[in-house]
Amino acid sequence: MRHLIPEFERMKERFPEGFDSSLVLPCLHRIQADRGYVAEEDIVGLCEYLSVPRIQVEEVLSYYTMLRREGIGKTHLQVCRNIACSMRGAEGVIEHACKRLGVKPGETTADGKFTLSTVECLGSCGTAPVLMVNDAYHENMTLEKLDALIADLSAGGGNS
Protein backbone atom coordinates (compact mmCIF):
# COMPACT_ATOMS: atom_id res chain seq x y z
CA MET A 1 0.00 0.00 0.00
CA ARG A 2 3.02 2.31 0.42
CA HIS A 3 2.85 3.51 -3.21
CA LEU A 4 -0.73 4.69 -2.53
CA ILE A 5 0.25 7.05 0.27
CA PRO A 6 0.43 10.14 -2.03
CA GLU A 7 -3.22 9.42 -2.94
CA PHE A 8 -4.12 8.95 0.74
CA GLU A 9 -2.48 12.27 1.52
CA ARG A 10 -4.80 13.99 -0.95
CA MET A 11 -7.82 12.21 0.64
CA LYS A 12 -6.66 13.37 4.04
CA GLU A 13 -7.03 16.99 2.97
CA ARG A 14 -10.78 16.48 2.62
CA PHE A 15 -11.18 15.41 6.26
CA PRO A 16 -11.10 17.63 9.34
CA GLU A 17 -7.92 17.42 11.40
CA GLY A 18 -7.94 14.62 13.97
CA PHE A 19 -10.30 12.44 11.91
CA ASP A 20 -7.64 10.23 10.35
CA SER A 21 -9.47 7.10 11.51
CA SER A 22 -12.32 8.06 9.14
CA LEU A 23 -9.89 7.36 6.30
CA VAL A 24 -9.81 3.65 7.09
CA LEU A 25 -12.75 2.83 4.81
CA PRO A 26 -11.74 4.86 1.70
CA CYS A 27 -8.13 3.67 2.08
CA LEU A 28 -9.24 0.02 2.25
CA HIS A 29 -11.37 0.50 -0.87
CA ARG A 30 -8.38 1.96 -2.70
CA ILE A 31 -6.08 -0.83 -1.51
CA GLN A 32 -8.55 -3.46 -2.67
CA ALA A 33 -8.95 -1.80 -6.07
CA ASP A 34 -5.15 -1.84 -6.38
CA ARG A 35 -4.33 -5.36 -5.17
CA GLY A 36 -7.67 -7.13 -5.59
CA TYR A 37 -7.89 -7.79 -1.87
CA VAL A 38 -6.54 -6.49 1.45
CA ALA A 39 -3.34 -8.28 2.48
CA GLU A 40 -1.81 -8.58 5.94
CA GLU A 41 0.91 -6.09 5.03
CA ASP A 42 -1.77 -3.59 3.95
CA ILE A 43 -3.43 -3.79 7.37
CA VAL A 44 -0.14 -3.32 9.20
CA GLY A 45 0.90 -0.48 6.88
CA LEU A 46 -2.47 1.29 7.11
CA CYS A 47 -2.53 1.08 10.93
CA GLU A 48 0.91 2.62 11.00
CA TYR A 49 0.08 5.31 8.43
CA LEU A 50 -3.19 6.41 10.08
CA SER A 51 -2.11 5.67 13.69
CA VAL A 52 -5.25 3.63 14.29
CA PRO A 53 -5.32 0.49 16.44
CA ARG A 54 -5.33 -2.71 14.43
CA ILE A 55 -8.68 -3.85 15.84
CA GLN A 56 -10.45 -0.87 14.22
CA VAL A 57 -9.26 -1.96 10.78
CA GLU A 58 -10.28 -5.55 11.53
CA GLU A 59 -13.75 -4.36 12.55
CA VAL A 60 -14.21 -2.44 9.30
CA LEU A 61 -12.95 -5.41 7.23
CA SER A 62 -15.35 -7.83 8.93
CA TYR A 63 -18.34 -5.46 8.87
CA TYR A 64 -18.32 -4.78 5.13
CA THR A 65 -18.70 -7.96 3.11
CA MET A 66 -17.38 -6.28 -0.05
CA LEU A 67 -13.93 -5.99 1.51
CA ARG A 68 -11.88 -9.14 0.90
CA ARG A 69 -8.89 -10.67 2.68
CA GLU A 70 -8.11 -13.07 -0.18
CA GLY A 71 -7.77 -12.76 -3.94
CA ILE A 72 -10.57 -13.80 -6.33
CA GLY A 73 -10.93 -14.76 -9.97
CA LYS A 74 -10.56 -12.35 -12.89
CA THR A 75 -14.32 -11.88 -13.20
CA HIS A 76 -16.49 -11.53 -10.08
CA LEU A 77 -20.10 -12.62 -10.51
CA GLN A 78 -22.26 -11.38 -7.63
CA VAL A 79 -25.86 -12.61 -7.68
CA CYS A 80 -28.43 -10.92 -5.44
CA ARG A 81 -30.38 -13.36 -3.32
CA ASN A 82 -32.50 -10.85 -1.43
CA ILE A 83 -36.29 -11.05 -1.35
CA ALA A 84 -37.23 -9.22 -4.58
CA CYS A 85 -34.64 -11.07 -6.67
CA SER A 86 -35.52 -14.40 -5.04
CA MET A 87 -39.18 -13.95 -5.90
CA ARG A 88 -38.20 -13.19 -9.50
CA GLY A 89 -36.06 -16.32 -9.91
CA ALA A 90 -32.64 -15.53 -8.42
CA GLU A 91 -32.40 -19.00 -6.90
CA GLY A 92 -32.60 -20.53 -10.37
CA VAL A 93 -29.99 -18.06 -11.63
CA ILE A 94 -27.63 -19.02 -8.78
CA GLU A 95 -28.17 -22.73 -9.38
CA HIS A 96 -27.60 -22.33 -13.11
CA ALA A 97 -24.44 -20.28 -12.58
CA CYS A 98 -23.11 -22.95 -10.23
CA LYS A 99 -23.78 -25.64 -12.83
CA ARG A 100 -22.27 -23.69 -15.71
CA LEU A 101 -19.14 -22.69 -13.81
CA GLY A 102 -18.77 -25.89 -11.78
CA VAL A 103 -18.36 -24.02 -8.46
CA LYS A 104 -20.44 -23.28 -5.39
CA PRO A 105 -21.18 -19.71 -4.21
CA GLY A 106 -18.00 -18.29 -2.68
CA GLU A 107 -15.72 -20.40 -4.87
CA THR A 108 -13.43 -19.63 -7.79
CA THR A 109 -13.15 -21.72 -10.96
CA ALA A 110 -10.01 -23.82 -11.33
CA ASP A 111 -8.76 -21.66 -14.23
CA GLY A 112 -9.07 -18.55 -12.02
CA LYS A 113 -11.43 -16.84 -14.48
CA PHE A 114 -14.61 -16.64 -12.37
CA THR A 115 -15.55 -16.17 -8.75
CA LEU A 116 -19.22 -16.67 -7.91
CA SER A 117 -20.76 -14.92 -4.88
CA THR A 118 -24.24 -14.45 -3.54
CA VAL A 119 -24.91 -11.04 -2.04
CA GLU A 120 -27.67 -9.14 -0.28
CA CYS A 121 -29.70 -6.35 -1.93
CA LEU A 122 -27.91 -4.56 -4.78
CA GLY A 123 -30.50 -1.80 -4.74
CA SER A 124 -32.10 -2.61 -8.07
CA CYS A 125 -35.25 -4.49 -7.08
CA GLY A 126 -37.21 -2.96 -10.00
CA THR A 127 -35.07 -4.92 -12.45
CA ALA A 128 -34.81 -8.14 -10.42
CA PRO A 129 -33.16 -10.57 -10.62
CA VAL A 130 -29.88 -8.70 -10.77
CA LEU A 131 -26.28 -9.80 -10.91
CA MET A 132 -23.09 -7.84 -11.06
CA VAL A 133 -20.13 -8.63 -13.29
CA ASN A 134 -17.30 -6.86 -11.50
CA ASP A 135 -18.72 -3.30 -11.21
CA ALA A 136 -21.43 -3.56 -13.90
CA TYR A 137 -25.13 -4.39 -13.35
CA HIS A 138 -26.86 -7.02 -15.50
CA GLU A 139 -30.60 -6.71 -14.96
CA ASN A 140 -33.73 -8.79 -15.53
CA MET A 141 -31.50 -11.85 -15.60
CA THR A 142 -32.76 -15.04 -17.23
CA LEU A 143 -31.04 -18.38 -17.68
CA GLU A 144 -30.63 -17.65 -21.42
CA LYS A 145 -29.09 -14.24 -20.77
CA LEU A 146 -26.80 -15.82 -18.17
CA ASP A 147 -25.64 -18.49 -20.65
CA ALA A 148 -24.85 -15.79 -23.21
CA LEU A 149 -23.09 -13.65 -20.60
CA ILE A 150 -20.87 -16.49 -19.41
CA ALA A 151 -20.07 -17.50 -23.00
CA ASP A 152 -19.13 -13.91 -23.82
CA LEU A 153 -16.98 -13.53 -20.70
CA SER A 154 -15.29 -16.90 -21.26
CA ALA A 155 -14.40 -15.82 -24.78
CA GLY A 156 -12.62 -12.84 -23.31
CA GLY A 157 -15.45 -10.30 -23.58
CA GLY A 158 -15.45 -7.16 -21.52
CA ASN A 159 -17.76 -6.00 -18.78
CA SER A 160 -20.57 -5.15 -21.19
Partner: protein, 414 residues
Protein backbone atom coordinates in the same frame (compact mmCIF):
# COMPACT_ATOMS: atom_id res chain seq x y z
CA UNK B 1 -37.67 15.42 24.39
CA UNK B 2 -35.02 16.62 26.85
CA UNK B 3 -35.74 16.72 30.59
CA UNK B 4 -37.09 20.10 31.72
CA UNK B 5 -38.21 21.82 34.91
CA UNK B 6 -41.66 20.75 36.03
CA UNK B 7 -41.73 17.75 33.69
CA UNK B 8 -43.50 14.69 35.05
CA UNK B 9 -41.97 11.37 33.94
CA UNK B 10 -43.80 8.11 34.42
CA UNK B 11 -41.33 5.30 34.94
CA UNK B 12 -43.67 2.55 36.13
CA UNK B 13 -46.87 2.95 34.11
CA UNK B 14 -48.37 -0.10 32.43
CA UNK B 15 -47.16 1.17 29.06
CA UNK B 16 -43.57 1.59 30.34
CA UNK B 17 -43.64 -1.85 31.96
CA UNK B 18 -44.85 -3.43 28.72
CA UNK B 19 -42.06 -1.74 26.77
CA UNK B 20 -39.45 -2.88 29.28
CA UNK B 21 -40.75 -6.41 29.06
CA UNK B 22 -40.53 -6.28 25.28
CA UNK B 23 -36.98 -4.92 25.47
CA UNK B 24 -35.97 -7.75 27.79
CA UNK B 25 -37.54 -10.22 25.38
CA UNK B 26 -35.43 -8.76 22.60
CA UNK B 27 -32.17 -8.78 24.58
CA UNK B 28 -32.69 -12.40 25.65
CA UNK B 29 -33.78 -13.49 22.16
CA UNK B 30 -30.56 -15.39 21.50
CA UNK B 31 -29.30 -15.67 25.07
CA UNK B 32 -28.92 -19.33 26.09
CA UNK B 33 -30.39 -18.82 29.61
CA UNK B 34 -27.91 -21.38 30.98
CA UNK B 35 -27.84 -19.70 34.40
CA UNK B 36 -27.63 -23.10 36.08
CA UNK B 37 -24.06 -23.61 34.85
CA UNK B 38 -23.03 -19.94 34.58
CA UNK B 39 -20.60 -18.40 37.09
CA UNK B 40 -22.31 -15.01 36.72
CA UNK B 41 -25.62 -16.30 38.11
CA UNK B 42 -26.42 -14.45 41.32
CA UNK B 43 -24.67 -11.25 40.25
CA UNK B 44 -25.83 -11.09 36.61
CA UNK B 45 -27.67 -7.89 35.72
CA UNK B 46 -29.47 -9.59 32.85
CA UNK B 47 -30.79 -12.13 35.34
CA UNK B 48 -31.78 -9.36 37.77
CA UNK B 49 -33.54 -7.28 35.10
CA UNK B 50 -35.29 -10.30 33.68
CA UNK B 51 -36.58 -11.11 37.15
CA UNK B 52 -37.63 -7.50 37.72
CA UNK B 53 -39.09 -6.57 34.34
CA UNK B 54 -40.12 -9.70 32.48
CA UNK B 55 -40.08 -12.97 34.33
CA UNK B 56 -41.72 -14.91 31.51
CA UNK B 57 -40.46 -17.62 29.21
CA UNK B 58 -39.38 -16.63 25.70
CA UNK B 59 -42.25 -16.15 23.23
CA UNK B 60 -39.98 -16.62 20.22
CA UNK B 61 -40.72 -19.64 18.03
CA UNK B 62 -37.44 -19.36 16.15
CA UNK B 63 -34.34 -21.30 17.05
CA UNK B 64 -31.67 -19.29 18.87
CA UNK B 65 -28.60 -18.35 16.86
CA UNK B 66 -25.46 -20.15 17.97
CA UNK B 67 -22.01 -18.68 18.46
CA UNK B 68 -18.61 -19.67 19.81
CA UNK B 69 -18.46 -21.04 23.33
CA UNK B 70 -15.29 -21.37 25.46
CA UNK B 71 -13.34 -18.96 23.24
CA UNK B 72 -9.87 -18.28 24.67
CA UNK B 73 -9.87 -14.50 24.84
CA UNK B 74 -6.52 -14.56 26.66
CA UNK B 75 -4.74 -16.94 29.01
CA UNK B 76 -6.81 -15.34 31.81
CA UNK B 77 -10.27 -14.94 30.32
CA UNK B 78 -12.72 -17.24 28.56
CA UNK B 79 -15.47 -15.84 26.33
CA UNK B 80 -18.92 -17.33 25.68
CA UNK B 81 -20.31 -15.52 22.63
CA UNK B 82 -23.79 -17.00 23.07
CA UNK B 83 -24.18 -15.32 26.46
CA UNK B 84 -22.85 -12.00 25.12
CA UNK B 85 -25.54 -9.34 24.61
CA UNK B 86 -23.19 -7.12 22.54
CA UNK B 87 -23.20 -4.15 24.91
CA UNK B 88 -19.52 -3.52 23.97
CA UNK B 89 -18.57 -2.36 27.47
CA UNK B 90 -15.45 -4.56 27.28
CA UNK B 91 -14.52 -3.06 23.91
CA UNK B 92 -14.93 0.46 25.29
CA UNK B 93 -12.85 -0.42 28.37
CA UNK B 94 -9.87 -1.38 26.22
CA UNK B 95 -10.29 1.81 24.15
CA UNK B 96 -11.06 4.38 26.82
CA UNK B 97 -9.54 3.12 30.09
CA UNK B 98 -6.73 0.60 29.59
CA UNK B 99 -6.04 1.99 26.07
CA UNK B 100 -4.75 -1.37 24.83
CA UNK B 101 -7.38 -1.37 22.04
CA UNK B 102 -7.30 -5.10 22.56
CA UNK B 103 -10.94 -5.95 21.84
CA UNK B 104 -13.36 -5.25 19.02
CA UNK B 105 -16.74 -6.24 17.65
CA UNK B 106 -16.36 -8.20 14.43
CA UNK B 107 -19.03 -8.93 11.80
CA UNK B 108 -22.54 -7.53 12.12
CA UNK B 109 -26.16 -8.18 12.97
CA UNK B 110 -26.70 -11.39 14.90
CA UNK B 111 -23.30 -12.60 13.72
CA UNK B 112 -21.56 -9.87 15.75
CA UNK B 113 -18.93 -11.27 18.06
CA UNK B 114 -16.39 -9.83 20.45
CA UNK B 115 -12.88 -10.79 19.39
CA UNK B 116 -9.35 -9.83 20.45
CA UNK B 117 -7.19 -7.85 18.07
CA UNK B 118 -4.95 -10.04 15.91
CA UNK B 119 -1.90 -8.14 17.21
CA UNK B 120 -2.28 -9.81 20.63
CA UNK B 121 -2.65 -6.52 22.50
CA UNK B 122 -5.42 -7.82 24.77
CA UNK B 123 -3.22 -10.59 26.18
CA UNK B 124 -0.71 -7.91 27.18
CA UNK B 125 -3.32 -5.61 28.78
CA UNK B 126 -2.37 -5.38 32.47
CA UNK B 127 -5.96 -4.34 33.32
CA UNK B 128 -7.76 -6.93 31.19
CA UNK B 129 -9.63 -8.64 34.03
CA UNK B 130 -11.74 -5.54 34.66
CA UNK B 131 -13.82 -6.55 31.63
CA UNK B 132 -15.01 -9.56 33.66
CA UNK B 133 -16.60 -7.22 36.22
CA UNK B 134 -17.88 -4.89 33.50
CA UNK B 135 -19.59 -7.70 31.60
CA UNK B 136 -23.27 -7.53 32.59
CA UNK B 137 -23.70 -11.23 31.75
CA UNK B 138 -21.56 -14.36 32.01
CA UNK B 139 -19.87 -13.91 28.62
CA UNK B 140 -16.47 -12.96 30.06
CA UNK B 141 -15.28 -15.16 32.90
CA UNK B 142 -12.00 -15.58 34.76
CA UNK B 143 -10.33 -18.91 34.05
CA UNK B 144 -8.97 -19.00 37.59
CA UNK B 145 -12.48 -18.76 39.05
CA UNK B 146 -14.29 -20.84 36.43
CA UNK B 147 -16.79 -23.20 38.10
CA UNK B 148 -14.99 -22.74 41.46
CA UNK B 149 -18.00 -21.57 43.48
CA UNK B 150 -21.48 -20.13 43.21
CA UNK B 151 -21.08 -16.48 44.16
CA UNK B 152 -23.64 -16.79 46.96
CA UNK B 153 -21.35 -19.31 48.69
CA UNK B 154 -18.78 -16.53 49.05
CA UNK B 155 -18.41 -13.41 51.15
CA UNK B 156 -16.36 -10.33 50.32
CA UNK B 157 -13.94 -8.98 52.90
CA UNK B 158 -12.78 -5.40 52.24
CA UNK B 159 -9.03 -5.21 51.92
CA UNK B 160 -6.11 -3.40 50.29
CA UNK B 161 -4.06 -4.84 47.45
CA UNK B 162 -0.43 -5.16 48.59
CA UNK B 163 0.82 -5.50 45.00
CA UNK B 164 2.26 -1.97 44.80
CA UNK B 165 2.33 1.31 46.68
CA UNK B 166 -0.97 2.40 45.06
CA UNK B 167 -2.86 0.31 47.63
CA UNK B 168 -6.04 -0.24 45.58
CA UNK B 169 -9.21 -1.07 47.47
CA UNK B 170 -10.19 -4.70 46.86
CA UNK B 171 -12.79 -7.16 47.98
CA UNK B 172 -11.28 -10.54 48.85
CA UNK B 173 -13.85 -13.27 48.19
CA UNK B 174 -13.74 -16.45 50.26
CA UNK B 175 -16.23 -19.05 51.42
CA UNK B 176 -18.94 -18.19 53.92
CA UNK B 177 -18.81 -20.11 57.20
CA UNK B 178 -22.08 -21.89 56.39
CA UNK B 179 -20.78 -23.02 53.00
CA UNK B 180 -17.43 -24.50 54.03
CA UNK B 181 -16.33 -27.45 51.90
CA UNK B 182 -16.36 -30.65 53.96
CA UNK B 183 -14.61 -33.23 51.80
CA UNK B 184 -10.93 -33.65 52.79
CA UNK B 185 -9.93 -33.25 49.15
CA UNK B 186 -11.46 -29.78 48.96
CA UNK B 187 -11.16 -28.53 52.54
CA UNK B 188 -7.89 -26.68 51.87
CA UNK B 189 -9.85 -24.24 49.69
CA UNK B 190 -11.79 -23.03 52.74
CA UNK B 191 -8.75 -21.05 53.91
CA UNK B 192 -7.91 -19.65 50.49
CA UNK B 193 -9.14 -16.72 48.45
CA UNK B 194 -11.42 -17.51 45.53
CA UNK B 195 -11.29 -14.21 43.69
CA UNK B 196 -10.53 -10.51 43.96
CA UNK B 197 -12.68 -7.60 42.75
CA UNK B 198 -12.09 -3.85 43.04
CA UNK B 199 -13.69 -1.59 45.63
CA UNK B 200 -14.41 1.77 44.04
CA UNK B 201 -12.31 4.44 45.74
CA UNK B 202 -11.96 7.74 43.83
CA UNK B 203 -9.04 8.80 46.06
CA UNK B 204 -6.95 5.74 45.21
CA UNK B 205 -7.96 3.47 42.34
CA UNK B 206 -11.27 4.70 40.90
CA UNK B 207 -13.34 1.64 39.97
CA UNK B 208 -10.42 -0.46 38.62
CA UNK B 209 -7.60 -2.73 39.73
CA UNK B 210 -4.82 -4.30 37.66
CA UNK B 211 -4.44 -8.03 37.00
CA UNK B 212 -1.87 -8.33 39.79
CA UNK B 213 -4.66 -7.77 42.33
CA UNK B 214 -6.66 -10.57 40.67
CA UNK B 215 -3.70 -12.88 41.20
CA UNK B 216 -3.51 -12.26 44.97
CA UNK B 217 -5.04 -15.69 45.69
CA UNK B 218 -1.86 -17.19 44.18
CA UNK B 219 0.53 -14.75 45.86
CA UNK B 220 -1.04 -15.17 49.30
CA UNK B 221 -1.79 -18.85 48.76
CA UNK B 222 1.86 -19.90 48.61
CA UNK B 223 3.04 -22.62 51.01
CA UNK B 224 3.39 -21.25 54.51
CA UNK B 225 6.16 -21.65 57.06
CA UNK B 226 4.59 -24.04 59.53
CA UNK B 227 6.68 -23.65 62.69
CA UNK B 228 9.61 -22.08 64.49
CA UNK B 229 13.15 -23.25 63.65
CA UNK B 230 16.59 -23.16 65.26
CA UNK B 231 19.06 -23.28 62.35
CA UNK B 232 16.54 -25.28 60.37
CA UNK B 233 15.61 -27.69 63.19
CA UNK B 234 11.98 -27.53 64.37
CA UNK B 235 11.67 -25.79 67.74
CA UNK B 236 8.82 -25.05 70.16
CA UNK B 237 7.37 -21.60 69.49
CA UNK B 238 7.79 -20.31 73.09
CA UNK B 239 11.43 -21.43 73.23
CA UNK B 240 12.11 -19.78 69.88
CA UNK B 241 10.64 -16.47 71.07
CA UNK B 242 12.76 -16.60 74.24
CA UNK B 243 15.88 -17.42 72.24
CA UNK B 244 15.20 -14.49 69.87
CA UNK B 245 14.72 -12.21 72.89
CA UNK B 246 18.00 -13.37 74.40
CA UNK B 247 19.91 -12.86 71.12
CA UNK B 248 18.58 -9.31 70.87
CA UNK B 249 19.38 -8.62 74.53
CA UNK B 250 22.96 -9.94 74.16
CA UNK B 251 23.70 -8.07 70.94
CA UNK B 252 25.87 -4.97 71.07
CA UNK B 253 25.00 -3.56 67.65
CA UNK B 254 21.61 -5.07 66.71
CA UNK B 255 19.95 -4.10 63.42
CA UNK B 256 16.35 -4.56 62.29
CA UNK B 257 15.48 -4.91 58.58
CA UNK B 258 11.90 -3.68 58.45
CA UNK B 259 9.19 -5.02 56.14
CA UNK B 260 7.38 -2.61 53.82
CA UNK B 261 4.51 -5.15 53.79
CA UNK B 262 3.95 -4.47 57.50
CA UNK B 263 0.78 -2.64 58.57
CA UNK B 264 0.89 0.69 60.36
CA UNK B 265 -0.24 -1.12 63.54
CA UNK B 266 2.61 -3.62 63.28
CA UNK B 267 5.10 -0.83 62.65
CA UNK B 268 3.80 1.08 65.70
CA UNK B 269 4.10 -2.05 67.87
CA UNK B 270 7.61 -2.62 66.56
CA UNK B 271 8.60 0.99 67.26
CA UNK B 272 7.15 0.89 70.80
CA UNK B 273 8.92 -2.35 71.70
CA UNK B 274 12.22 -2.31 69.79
CA UNK B 275 12.49 1.02 67.98
CA UNK B 276 15.05 2.49 70.42
CA UNK B 277 17.11 -0.67 70.75
CA UNK B 278 17.87 -1.56 67.10
CA UNK B 279 19.31 0.36 64.19
CA UNK B 280 16.77 0.44 61.35
CA UNK B 281 17.06 -0.59 57.71
CA UNK B 282 14.06 -0.32 55.38
CA UNK B 283 13.51 -3.19 52.96
CA UNK B 284 11.55 -3.60 49.76
CA UNK B 285 10.02 -7.03 50.27
CA UNK B 286 8.99 -7.33 46.61
CA UNK B 287 10.63 -6.07 43.42
CA UNK B 288 9.08 -5.98 39.93
CA UNK B 289 9.00 -9.47 38.45
CA UNK B 290 10.14 -10.24 34.88
CA UNK B 291 7.33 -9.33 32.51
CA UNK B 292 5.47 -7.27 35.09
CA UNK B 293 4.45 -3.69 34.19
CA UNK B 294 6.74 -1.55 36.36
CA UNK B 295 4.80 1.71 36.23
CA UNK B 296 2.11 3.30 34.06
CA UNK B 297 -0.19 6.32 33.90
CA UNK B 298 -3.29 4.57 35.28
CA UNK B 299 -2.65 2.74 38.58
CA UNK B 300 0.52 0.66 38.59
CA UNK B 301 3.42 2.03 40.67
CA UNK B 302 7.08 1.02 40.56
CA UNK B 303 7.40 0.26 44.29
CA UNK B 304 5.80 -3.20 44.58
CA UNK B 305 5.17 -2.90 48.32
CA UNK B 306 2.02 -1.56 49.99
CA UNK B 307 3.44 0.37 52.94
CA UNK B 308 6.82 1.97 52.20
CA UNK B 309 5.16 5.31 53.03
CA UNK B 310 3.90 3.83 56.32
CA UNK B 311 7.45 2.74 57.23
CA UNK B 312 8.70 6.30 56.63
CA UNK B 313 5.77 7.81 58.53
CA UNK B 314 6.08 5.57 61.61
CA UNK B 315 9.83 4.98 61.80
CA UNK B 316 11.24 8.02 59.99
CA UNK B 317 14.04 7.72 57.46
CA UNK B 318 15.73 4.33 57.80
CA UNK B 319 19.04 3.12 56.45
CA UNK B 320 19.24 1.17 53.21
CA UNK B 321 22.11 -1.20 54.01
CA UNK B 322 22.95 -3.40 56.97
CA UNK B 323 25.97 -1.86 58.81
CA UNK B 324 29.15 -3.93 58.46
CA UNK B 325 29.64 -4.05 62.23
CA UNK B 326 26.17 -5.43 63.06
CA UNK B 327 26.30 -8.46 65.38
CA UNK B 328 22.59 -9.31 65.18
CA UNK B 329 20.16 -8.82 62.31
CA UNK B 330 16.42 -9.12 62.81
CA UNK B 331 14.94 -9.64 59.33
CA UNK B 332 11.22 -9.00 59.00
CA UNK B 333 9.51 -10.28 55.86
CA UNK B 334 10.53 -11.48 52.38
CA UNK B 335 12.91 -10.18 49.77
CA UNK B 336 16.09 -9.84 51.84
CA UNK B 337 19.49 -10.84 50.47
CA UNK B 338 21.10 -12.61 53.42
CA UNK B 339 24.57 -12.12 51.88
CA UNK B 340 24.32 -8.60 53.30
CA UNK B 341 24.53 -9.98 56.85
CA UNK B 342 28.06 -9.85 58.35
CA UNK B 343 29.44 -13.40 58.71
CA UNK B 344 29.64 -13.34 62.50
CA UNK B 345 26.18 -11.79 63.09
CA UNK B 346 23.28 -13.77 64.51
CA UNK B 347 20.05 -13.84 62.47
CA UNK B 348 16.48 -13.69 63.74
CA UNK B 349 14.07 -14.11 60.81
CA UNK B 350 10.33 -13.41 60.74
CA UNK B 351 8.65 -14.74 57.60
CA UNK B 352 5.24 -16.05 56.62
CA UNK B 353 6.13 -18.31 53.70
CA UNK B 354 8.21 -21.44 53.27
CA UNK B 355 11.64 -20.41 51.93
CA UNK B 356 15.17 -21.90 51.94
CA UNK B 357 16.39 -18.87 53.94
CA UNK B 358 14.11 -19.82 56.86
CA UNK B 359 16.46 -22.67 57.79
CA UNK B 360 19.60 -20.49 57.73
CA UNK B 361 18.46 -18.20 60.54
CA UNK B 362 19.60 -18.79 64.12
CA UNK B 363 15.98 -18.33 65.11
CA UNK B 364 13.11 -18.46 62.65
CA UNK B 365 9.59 -17.35 63.67
CA UNK B 366 6.53 -17.88 61.43
CA UNK B 367 4.26 -14.82 61.22
CA UNK B 368 0.77 -14.08 59.90
CA UNK B 369 -0.15 -12.76 56.45
CA UNK B 370 -2.47 -9.88 55.57
CA UNK B 371 -5.57 -12.06 55.29
CA UNK B 372 -5.14 -13.28 58.89
CA UNK B 373 -5.21 -9.84 60.51
CA UNK B 374 -6.67 -6.38 60.09
CA UNK B 375 -4.70 -3.18 59.80
CA UNK B 376 -3.89 -0.14 57.68
CA UNK B 377 -1.49 0.69 54.87
CA UNK B 378 -0.53 4.21 53.81
CA UNK B 379 -0.10 4.61 50.08
CA UNK B 380 2.39 6.75 48.14
CA UNK B 381 -0.01 9.70 48.14
CA UNK B 382 -0.52 9.54 51.91
CA UNK B 383 -3.99 7.93 51.76
CA UNK B 384 -4.44 5.39 54.58
CA UNK B 385 -6.72 2.41 53.84
CA UNK B 386 -7.95 -0.32 56.14
CA UNK B 387 -7.93 -4.07 55.44
CA UNK B 388 -10.01 -6.59 57.36
CA UNK B 389 -9.22 -10.10 58.50
CA UNK B 390 -10.50 -12.97 56.32
CA UNK B 391 -9.21 -16.09 58.07
CA UNK B 392 -8.27 -17.31 61.56
CA UNK B 393 -4.59 -17.43 62.54
CA UNK B 394 -3.18 -20.88 61.63
CA UNK B 395 -1.81 -22.86 64.58
CA UNK B 396 1.87 -22.28 65.35
CA UNK B 397 1.93 -18.86 63.69
CA UNK B 398 2.33 -15.50 65.45
CA UNK B 399 1.09 -12.00 64.69
CA UNK B 400 4.22 -9.87 64.40
CA UNK B 401 2.28 -7.12 66.19
CA UNK B 402 1.93 -9.34 69.31
CA UNK B 403 5.42 -10.78 69.02
CA UNK B 404 7.49 -7.58 69.33
CA UNK B 405 6.47 -6.99 72.97
CA UNK B 406 7.78 -10.47 73.82
CA UNK B 407 11.17 -9.69 72.30
CA UNK B 408 11.95 -7.06 74.93
CA UNK B 409 13.71 -8.18 78.11
CA UNK B 410 16.81 -9.89 79.38
CA UNK B 411 18.20 -13.38 79.17
CA UNK B 412 16.52 -16.69 78.42
CA UNK B 413 14.31 -16.82 81.51
CA UNK B 414 10.64 -16.05 81.21
Amino acid sequence: MPAADGMVVFTASDKVKARRKATMEFITLNHPVDCGICDKAGECTLQDYHFEYNGGASVSRDAKTHATKHFDLSDRIVLDNERCIQCTRCVRFTREISKSNGLGMLDRGDHSIVRPSADGSFAKDAYSDNVIDLCPVGALLAKDFLHKARVWYLKATPSVCPGCERGCGVNLWHRKDEWMLRSPRQAARNDGLDRVTPIENPAVNGPWVCNKARDLPKLLGRVRAAGALFKGAPAPLEAAVLEARALIAEAKRPVAVVSSWASNEELAAFKAALGGRLALVAKRDHEPQPGEVVQDDLLIRADKNPNAAGVRAVLGECGTEVPKDADLVLVWGEGFDFRAVPASAKIVFLNAFLAPENGHADVFLPVSIQTERSGHYTNFAGVTSRFERCFALPPGVLHAEDLFGSLVGNGRGA
